[in-house]
């Protein structure tokens, strides 16, 4: 029976955790790279909103400058929400999620890796695209840093919170609508402080307070959300 005993890994715990995190990240980035068309979907949505908004409402620069922070933030929020349903869907359908839950590795690290990968492919590109939208919507130049910084701190929180909803609804055939209902109320604080930061930047007020609050939400999200996501996944797979 001794030869059947599982060998303990020789690496120390921290190293294996980092290794696991990187393995998850690498796999999810590779998966998205192989399905590039899904990748551009939220970005196109993001751009479309900014393009259509002036056509639908008013092309006046003064008016657009006033609504620009809100429009960019709402577009980023909805684009993230749009991509959320796919985070665990394919893993659930082909049984790899099952295998993940059955592995001895800590679910916290795996889930965090998946969410960070999701953010790198939606939130980060959205943040990088945001200045372009800012220019299109006549956002005053002073607001650009505020826009970038608030999105940089806010979008990871959106991914983390959205993943809780995705994990809860992954077992349902049509989870898309439910995710929105579950997650949108939780997105509102991020939206308020995000747009608040941009407006403060435009009017030349100090940003630090808003950014600190966004940062606090992100810190809380990184610590708590993976636990909730893990528990939600266990419930979904159990059903």
């Amino acid at each position: 029976m001794n030869d059947m005993q599982t060998k303990e890994p020789v690496l120390n715990r921290d190293q294996t955790m980092v290794g696991l995190f990187l393995a998850v990240l690498k796999r999810d980035l590779l998966l998205s790279y192989r399905r590039r068309s899904d990748l551009v979907n939220p970005l196109i949505f993001f751009l479309m909103v900014a393009t259509l908004f002036p056509l639908g409402v008013s092309p006046e620069p003064e008016f657009l400058a006033q609504v620009a922070p809100g429009v960019v933030w709402v577009a980023a929020l909805l684009a993230t929400l749009l991509s959320m349903d796919a985070v665990f869907r394919s893993d659930f359908e082909d049984g790899t999620l099952e295998q993940t839950l059955l592995s001895p590795q800590p679910l916290f690290v795996v889930v965090l890796g998946k969410v960070i990968a999701h953010w790198m492919l939606t939130g980060l590109p959205l943040t990088l695209l945001a200045p372009l939208l800012g220019v299109m919507l006549f956002l005053p130049e002073g607001g650009m840093t505020g826009l970038m910084l608030s999105l940089l701190l806010g979008t990871p929180t959106l991914s983390l919170v959205g993943a809780i909803g995705a994990a809860l609804t992954v077992g349902l055939r049509k989870g898309g609508v439910l995710i929105s209902l579950l997650v949108l109320p939780l997105y509102i604080p991020v939206l308020i402080f995000g747009t608040g930061a941009v407006q403060a930047a435009v009017t030349g007020l100090p940003l630090a307070g808003y950014l600190a609050l966004l940062g606090a939400m992100l810190a809380l999200g990184i610590v708590m959300a993976p636990l909730a996501i893990g528990a939600a996944l266990r419930i979904s797979v159990s059903g």
Binding site: M1, D3, M4, Q5, T6, K7, E8, P9, T16, G19, L20, A23, V24, R27, L30, L31, R34, R35, S90, E93, D94, G95, T96, E98, Q99, T100, L101, L102, S103, P104, Q105, V110, V237, S238
Partner: protein, 212 residues
């Protein structure tokens, strides 16, 4: 007789107001193979999912090495290889990438043995072909390659022979027999007749549920 690895007591499970099994008791010792029998819909997969810790819709007790399974979940998972209904193979990854992922999730596996395992299941030359280009049977084989990689003592296999050709089935059966000889334990469902003789015990779910 040593302590059983896995012991099930008074297991009860119902689904949609239909009792799948009740008062189910059995234990699995090292070196034993248990075949779960029953007609379609008798709850074989449900039972395996409960035993593997995926499903919690049951009443009763499960013990791993005489400890309640909930208290020793991590140790249990370290010692478990679960082959589920869905093979757990990502269609857009290659067989090698799929197994690399599995190795990352199970730190006891030596990634250098992956190519060897793929050769054992007859997928040499397909290492770099995305799995969606492979046949259904080959996809199952990718997942079955885990049997050659893993050193976990407990195997739970749900229909491992589906879509596998005759020679492949014979090889897997020999592998299961060898695993049991070395002191490992296997719980499986299959509609194949296993030719392992006395080593195999069977648990029949039809009789328990009164469906026959």
């Amino acid at each position: 007789m040593s302590d059983p690895l896995l012991r099930v007591e008074q297991l009860f499970c119902e689904r949609d107001d239909r009792v799948l099994f009740e008062n189910l008791n059995f234990s699995l010792a090292a070196g034993e193979v248990i075949q779960i029998e029953g007609q379609n819909g008798s709850g074989k997969t449900t039972l395996l999912r409960i035993l593997g810790g995926l499903s919690r819709n049951f009443e009763g007790d499960i013990f791993w090495k005489e400890e309640p399974i909930g208290d020793v979940a991590e140790d249990f998972r370290r010692n478990l290889l679960y082959f589920g209904h869905q093979p757990g193979v990502k269609a857009i990854l290659t067989p090698e990438e799929n197994l690399n992922w599995y190795a990352a999730m199970h730190p006891a596996i030596d990634p250098e043995r992956i190519l060897d395992a793929l050769e054992q299941v007859g997928l040499k030359g397909y290492e770099d072909v995305p799995c969606h280009m492979l046949s259904a049977g080959q996809n199952r084989r990718v997942s079955l390659a885990r049997l050659y990689l893993s050193s976990a003592p407990l195997w739970i296999l749900d229909e491992p022979f589906t879509a596998i050709d005759k020679r492949g089935v014979a090889e897997k059966e020999a592998l299961i027999a060898r695993h049991a000889e070395q002191g490992g334990s296997v719980i499986l469902t299959t509609h194949h007749e296993l030719s392992m003789g006395d080593r195999v015990r069977s648990v029949n779910l039809d009789k328990l549920a009164g469906t026959s």
